[in-house]
């Protein structure tokens, strides 16, 4: 028996149409009905999403600044995005953040989901709720809680480290340590969401597979490698996508804890969009940077979409 035989069918299937002519008569009335259901959503999306995005695309080729006339400047904004050392630094920081956040959060989520899925652990429901609590707290508040924890005078972390004779001062003002710190805050808050998703995936794996593998003499690592991982493929792919996209959009805790500093060491792309678009009012430039972020997100989604799609075929 291969693993794929037992994969629960959960591909989305469209329900298809209702057959025959219903009692709803008349082309005009039909159109009115459809409009009644769809128009609110479509009108809002067109007016407040499509239109602004199109106008942002236009803005990104101008030097719009919120005041006075805007002039068409071609690709200058995009050239600046890829040549300004501060912007390149922000992109590098975003990549660094993502490279730290995604593996840390996803691995932690998987390990704890497997622990919570084990029948040997008592009070599983309580632990699940307990670990989940940070997720419902605002990231801005979480950032503050951590700032308090890390405070050099009254923070618990420094107190502990001092008893071991280590002095690290204010990590948020340290150009090397500030970035890992804001990553830790995001992992602390968000990993539980991924954990719940993994838990759902784990619960769909039939326990008979593990029992059969055990009888065949497979050890814990082999069971994990040959049963858990392949059957969690879809879930892992999904978690990786949402974790990576979430990492690309890092903002709240950075805004509260470091404001992008020290020395731009935590300045991410979204921090930069906020700075350029809403503080410096360089609307054209901020629009160009926004489009770069959109394209990056799009590419990542597609890559991971095809990657998980291919892996799925391999195991099938």
């Amino acid at each position: 028996m291969t693993a794929s035989d037992t994969r629960p069918a959960r591909r989305y299937r469209p329900p298809g149409q209702l057959g025959g002519r219903g009692p709803i008569g008349g082309q005009a009335k039909r159109r009115l009905t459809i409009a009644g259901f769809l128009l609110p959503a479509l009108a809002i999306l067109v007016l407040f999403v499509f239109w602004p995005m199109l106008s942002a695309l236009r803005l990104s080729f101008t030097d719009a600044s919120g005041f006075g006339q805007e002039e068409f400047i071609g690709l200058d904004n995009y050239v600046e995005v890829f040549s300004d050392p501060n912007i390149l630094r922000a992109m590098g920081n975003t990549v660094l953040y993502t490279v730290m956040f995604t593996p840390l959060a996803v691995i932690l989520a998987l390990v704890l989901a497997m622990a919570l899925n084990s029948p040997r652990l008592p009070l599983r429901g309580m632990f699940r709720t307990w670990l989940f609590l940070p997720f419902i707290v605002s990231l801005a508040v979480a950032a503050f809680a951590w700032q308090y924890l890390l405070d050099p005078q009254v923070g618990l972390v420094n107190y502990w480290l001092q008893t071991f004779g280590i002095r690290i001062g204010n990590v948020l003002q340290d150009p090397v340590l500030a970035m890992p710190t804001v990553v830790v805050v995001a992992v602390w808050k968000n990993f539980a969401f991924y954990m719940i998703v993994f838990l759902a995936g784990l619960q769909d794996i039939p326990s008979s597979l593990y029992e059969a593998a055990k009888m065949d003499g497979a050890g814990p690592w082999s069971r994990f490698r040959n049963i858990t991982l392949p059957l969690l493929n879809n879930t892992t792919g999904f978690v990786l996508i949402i974790a990576t996209i979430a990492a690309l959009q890092a903002f709240d805790q950075i805004y509260v804890m470091t404001g992008g500093g020290p020395y731009r060491s935590t300045q991410t792309v979204v921090m930069q969009i906020y700075q350029s678009g809403f503080k410096d009012l360089e609307l054209g430039f901020a629009s160009a940077l926004s489009y770069v972020l959109l394209v990056a997100t799009l590419i990542l989604s597609l890559v991971q979409f095809f990657f998980t799609g291919r892996r799925e075929k391999d195991t099938a």
């Binding site: 209702l18 009692p23 609110p40 809002i44 503050f144 978690v239 903002f251 489009y291």
Partner: protein, 327 residues
């Protein structure tokens, strides 16, 4: 739930006997001996889980303890010292509700948060439910393309739509000399924040609710149509009651999302309409050492999500899972 069905294999009698005795053996083991063994083996895992859970709670727990401590104590000693030597007060809460910036206090920003969050949850929910029904059960030309279009909007990062949205709000939209949309004043109104949260929620909400609505058995809806029900009646009498769990879970998720949001609030909720997250972030930035105010303020901000979560936990987890397993 196991997808594997037990199959009756042809087995010769002696093997059957062996199997049965094996089963009995397992059963016997399962009872007292196994239970003791299980308790022993679980101890390590339990301790590890407990330690992680405690570590995970420390940041918020420290905040919670501190919010009841005297302001001078907070500035000079760590919160853990007060566990052995407790002296607690509610002064911080009394003071924080009155404090704030020049245009709004924490107390009124708390009210603002409610005034932002409830409409920003209900508006997208209603609109998305209507659209989800149309996409699932009404046939019309170009439906698939339209649905893919809405689906694709999910990957647009909120952060990139902010700049154009702000300029739309301030300038409006005109075709020739006719104003389609004349813009919304930036201060003193919640409508900008409501619209922003609505559009960011809509694509995901339509997608999730569509998945749920389309799983309603076709027979149910066909029966209603045979009885002469129109789409409106089907929607209100059948779809809405049947999708209540999905609606509830999405509502909770959106409620928490909006309540906890900082970025949209920073940009669209100016001055007197600022929600509590924005005000707290502002105080943290400008008066970072006013721990006594911030610890209490943080807990004022956490209270509502905590209540919502514990009251509706069942729906909440289900909603999260609906989003993940269908994706």
């Amino acid at each position: 739930m196991s997808a594997v069905q037990p199959i009756d294999l042809p087995v010769d009698p002696s093997t059957k006997k062996q199997l049965r005795s094996g089963e009995r053996e397992l059963e016997r083991e399962e009872r007292p001996a196994k239970r003791v063994k299980r308790r022993l083996t679980s101890r390590g895992a339990t301790v590890a889980a407990l330690i992680i859970a405690i570590v995970w709670t420390i940041p918020t727990f420290g905040l919670f303890i501190s919010s009841f401590r005297d302001r001078n104590d907070i500035q000079t000693t760590g919160w853990w010292t007060s566990i052995f030597n407790p002296s607690f007060t509610l002064d911080n809460y009394a003071e924080v509700l009155q404090s704030g910036n020049s245009s709004v206090t924490i107390a009124s920003s708390f009210v603002n948060s409610i005034a932002i969050t409830i409409p920003a949850t209900l508006i997208p929910l209603c609109i998305a439910a209507l659209a989800a029904y149309a996409f699932a059960w009404i046939d019309f030309k170009g439906k698939d393309w339209l649905f893919i279009g809405v689906f694709a909007l999910q990957i647009v990062p909120i952060q990139m739509a902010l700049v154009p949205l702000l300029s739309l709000f301030s300038r409006g939209v005109a075709v020739g000399d006719d104003w389609i949309f004349s813009g919304i004043p930036s201060s003193g109104t919640f409508s900008q924040v409501w619209i922003a949260h609505t559009i960011f929620a809509l694509p995901l909400a339509i997608f999730l609710l569509h998945n749920f609505v389309s799983e309603i058995p076709r027979e149910v809806i066909e029966a209603a149509r045979v009885d002469g029900a129109g789409h409106g009646q089907i929607f209100f009498r059948i779809i809405l009651p049947l999708t209540m769990p999905a609606l509830a879970s999405f509502a909770i998720f959106q409620f928490l999302w909006v309540w906890n949001d900082l970025l949209v609030a920073l940009i669209f909720a100016d001055g007197a309409v600022a929600p509590i997250t924005k005000l707290l972030a502002e105080i943290t930035g400008s008066r970072g050492q006013d721990w006594y105010l911030l610890t209490a303020g943080a807990f004022v901000a956490i209270v509502v999500p905590l209540i919502v979560f514990f009251a509706l936990q069942r729906f909440f987890v289900r909603g999260l899972l609906a989003g993940s397993t269908k994706g």
